[in-house]
């Protein structure tokens, strides 16, 4: 028995860009066998997203694609064609899990909706990831990650007063949706081990943000009558400092929720006289005089680098952190010692360094068994090998644009 948590679990991915691919990557990285179905002729849209080495676009060299599709095999298939749909059903028969992220109505139009798939494979778990879910007044509305983050109340708390709210970076709504879909799918897989039956999971990315990220703020709105607001580099919590402040070579994330932490900071600063001022006495008061706090902390920070401040604060148990830029994250000794970044050798893109395990499992480690696949790289292996079709049919389907 292989020491992979999900060894033997057959996953079919039919979708593109981020949410379905990241969801299935999480499973593949723990040992599931993932077959990625891409639409001919050009495949997953992420192949055109980049970043590309040297900024030269190439469908086999997109950084986003290479990261999101490790431990998968790629087949091309057009299920809009009736022969293609039959092949798709053969893939579904062999699958434990199908993850899709097409717009609502797309699967039904292909006659590949859950009711039909369940008939040929009652053990199938079908996970759909969409912006607004498959039921509800907005289910058929169009939304990209930007709209989902704004619509689910996430952006309203990011940005400066009076200026436009900001969505979190990097199409984050799709990543958060993927995490939720992956967790929910594992719950359904566990349940299937007991009941022997599959089911349908309707995961809405807006729901995930609105509940699991923003739900904790409902009580504040309903019972303390406070709405989420944008305060620029500050939070609206009744404690301070809780802000991003300037230092000599960048920014410090200065958060201190507890009074003792503030006291230790004051000691670290050499017990300046201003700290005795009643305006700075308690977190709530400091939040009411945040400009004055910023001015004093920034004038102390101004002569020091991020690294110096971080070191001094750690020694004094003050929970301030440097705002690391992306380069600093990649070069960070802590992550390097934990072997966080992995190098992938790819026949077209060469060596690619990207984030590796997001957790360390003691018995069944995260494992890079396969680099991201070339478009249709495993057509022969899957269609002739796994499904047992005659090679001449596969060649013909290729010519007819079905594969």
């Amino acid at each position: 028995m292989s020491k992979s948590a999900l060894a033997g679990v057959q996953v079919l991915e039919f979708g593109q860009l981020i949410s379905a691919p990241y969801c299935c990557k999480l499973m593949g990285d723990l040992g599931a066998e993932v077959i990625k179905v891409e639409l001919p002729p050009s495949g997953d849209e992420a192949r055109r997203y980049g970043p590309f080495p040297g900024d030269v676009p190439h469908p086999e060299k997109s950084g986003l694609f290479l990261y999101l599709n490790t431990n998968k095999r790629s087949v091309t298939l057009n299920p809009e064609h009736s022969a293609g749909a039959k092949i798709f059903l053969d893939l579904v028969r062999k699958a434990d899990i199908l993850v899709e992220n097409w717009p609502v109505g797309f699967m039904a139009a292909l006659k590949l909706d859950y009711q039909r798939l369940k008939e040929i494979n009652p053990r199938l778990i079908l996970t759909s990831i969409t912006p607004f879910g498959h039921a509800g007044p907005y289910s058929k509305w169009k939304a990209y990650a930007l709209n989902i983050s704004h619509g689910a109340g996430v952006a309203k708390g990011i940005g400066s007063p009076g200026r436009e709210p900001l969505a979190p970076p990097g199409q984050q709504a799709h990543f958060f949706g993927a995490l939720n879909a992956a967790a929910a799918t594992m719950v359904a897989l566990w349940e299937r081990e007991i009941s022997g039956e599959g089911q349908y999971l309707d995961i809405s990315e807006a729901d995930c943000w609105a509940m699991l990220f923003n739900g904790v703020w409902y009580s504040k709105y309903l019972y303390a009558h406070e709405e989420v607001t944008r305060l620029g580099h500050r939070s609206n919590l009744p404690v301070y400092p809780w802000a991003v402040l300037r230092c000599k070579d960048g920014f410090i994330s200065a958060t201190a929720a507890e009074e003792a932490q503030w006291q230790r900071l004051i000691e670290l600063m050499g017990n300046p006289e201003w700290a005795q001022d009643p305006r700075f006495e308690k977190g709530v008061k400091r939040s009411q005089h945040a400009d004055e706090v910023d001015e004093r902390l920034e004038s102390w920070f101004a002569s020091q680098t991020k690294a110096e401040i971080f070191q001094a604060c750690r020694e004094k148990n003050v929970p301030f952190s440097p705002v690391q830029d992306i380069g600093e994250v990649v070069e960070c000794p802590h992550l390097q010692e934990r072997d966080y970044f992995v190098k992938i050798q790819h026949p077209k893109a060469g060596e690619v360094t990207c984030p590796g395990p997001p957790y360390k499992l003691s018995e069944t480690p995260w494992e890079l068994r396969r680099r991201a696949p070339l478009l249709g790289e495993h057509n022969e292996e899957i269609y002739c090998g796994l499904l047992g079709y005659p090679p001449r049919d596969v060649v013909r389907w290729g010519k007819e644009g079905i594969l």
């Binding site: 729901d207 709105y221 989420v228 380069g327 010692e337």
Partner: protein
């Protein structure tokens, strides 16, 4: 209790009415958000979750406003209520050896342990994985610390935002070309908690096949950095360090948030294809500016995106977000208002999706909690129990689950072991 699963008490023998994780028991040492949301999700899906706290050191959220009756009260903290529904509460002063022994007895009859302390905390109490796995060899234990269990920064103390700063997330947040503002809320917690549920269930699946448990070292920092691949790869491939992103997208224009008529009223609009751009222009009545060379192709629209944003805002500012959204969605364009919490709570779509669940709590009748976003067709999860009072289930857990006598439990309470 109302909500999607109000009739759960009926037909409990039938599998049809069982929640998917029924039969699993989880010990939850969770603290504030990342650990508690992990336990919450497992509990929402049917696991029996026992939250371990102490009166000496209750979950920080029990001390965090707002409170049900307006004044500080560990049983009336409303943030706590939403993250700890479906859980049982026991009080144990873990610094006492007798309490640590009780934890071991509890672990012996459980499947999963969750904690998000700094790495040394449970080790110092003699309750780390090597110890607990001796008591329960097939235990699955997940530790969600800031930086993980190894490495030079393993003992680092952070809050969500300062962890997001280390992870590279904050450096991307701000208006393009301007200073870093950061994300004042803690995305690291719900992202890590959700990922932890995935890893725990994968480990349970493996345990079912092999009988083996394991330890999950989940660094919230690493879980968060894993969600920024475009930026990481642009550095490792091209040496480029991404700056503040605003609402921009590398390949889409328009892609932004535009001021509308009304107080703090905004609409987000995003366009990917040339077809969408044509439909968008048509919906606006093909104004002359939209037909010019600058906005003719995606590439050119990206180059002149600030000018384009200005033109669009000239149009949106005379309309409410709702008017803009109705017009554009009918034309097949991705548009949605920038909502606040109040907007979510009164929106018919989110209402239909079950964002609100009403629960009666002794400190607040008809309290509104957030719902569970995962919709399962056959075995839905849900809220079947309000958040526990501190120590409310000491008797159930120690007498019924561990089989201790009531006298012994009372004595341990007097000795402040159960405290």
């Amino acid at each position: 209790m109302s909500g999607a699963n109000s009739d759960l008490s009926k037909n409990l023998d039938s599998r049809e009415n069982k929640m998917p994780l029924e039969g699993l028991r989880v010990i939850d040492f969770g603290w504030v958000w990342a650990g508690p949301i992990t336990g919450q999700l497992l509990g929402d899906m049917g696991a029996e979750v026992v939250k371990v706290e102490s009166r000496k050191r209750p979950d920080f959220l029990r001390l965090f406003p707002p409170f049900a009756e307006g004044k500080p009260d560990p049983d009336g903290a409303l943030f706590f209520h939403s993250l700890n529904r479906n859980k049982l509460s026991v009080t144990l002063d873990l610094t006492q050896p007798k309490a640590a022994e009780l934890v071991k007895r509890l672990v012996k009859i459980s499947d999963v342990v969750i904690e998000n302390f700094s790495p040394k905390a449970l080790r110092n109490l003699g309750l780390d994985y090597p110890t607990l796995s001796q008591v329960k060899p097939d235990l699955i234990m997940a530790s969600l610390s800031a930086g993980g269990q190894t490495g030079p920064l393993k003992d680092i103390m952070t809050y969500g935002p300062s962890l997001g700063a280390l992870a590279g997330l904050d450096s991307l947040i701000g208006y393009p070309g301007e200073r870093v503002l950061g994300w004042p809320m803690a995305y690291t917690d719900p992202a890590s908690g959700t990922l932890a549920v995935f890893a725990i269930l994968a480990a349970l699946y493996y345990r079912k096949k092999t009988g083996k448990g394991q330890y999950i070292d989940l660094a919230q920092w690493e879980a968060t950095t894993a969600l920024l691949p475009e930026f990481i790869l642009d550095y490792t491939l091209n040496g480029r360090v991404a700056g503040t992103q605003g609402n921009r997208h590398p390949h889409m224009a328009p892609h932004g948030c535009f001021r509308c008529k009304g107080q703090d009223a905004w609409v987000s609009i995003a366009i990917q294809t040339e077809e969408e751009w044509g439909d968008f222009c048509k919906a606006l009545g093909n104004p002359p500016w939209s037909q010019g060379e600058r906005f003719f192709s995606r590439k050119s629209r990206l180059q002149y995106r600030e000018e384009l944003n200005g033109k669009i805002e000239d149009w949106t500012i005379r309309r409410t977000p709702e008017e803009v959204v109705k017009l554009l969605q009918e034309a097949g364009i991705a548009a949605f208002p920038s909502y606040g919490i109040g907007d979510i709570l009164k929106d018919p779509h989110f209402e239909a999706r079950g964002v609100k669940v009403v629960v009666d709590h002794p400190k607040m009748e008809g309290e509104i909690l957030y719902g569970l976003p995962w919709k399962f067709s056959r075995t839905p999860g849900g809220i079947r129990r309000r958040a526990p009072l501190l120590g409310e289930h000491n008797k159930y857990v120690f007498c019924e689950l561990l089989g201790m006598g009531e006298d012994e439990v009372s004595r341990l309470a007097e000795e402040k072991v159960l405290y």
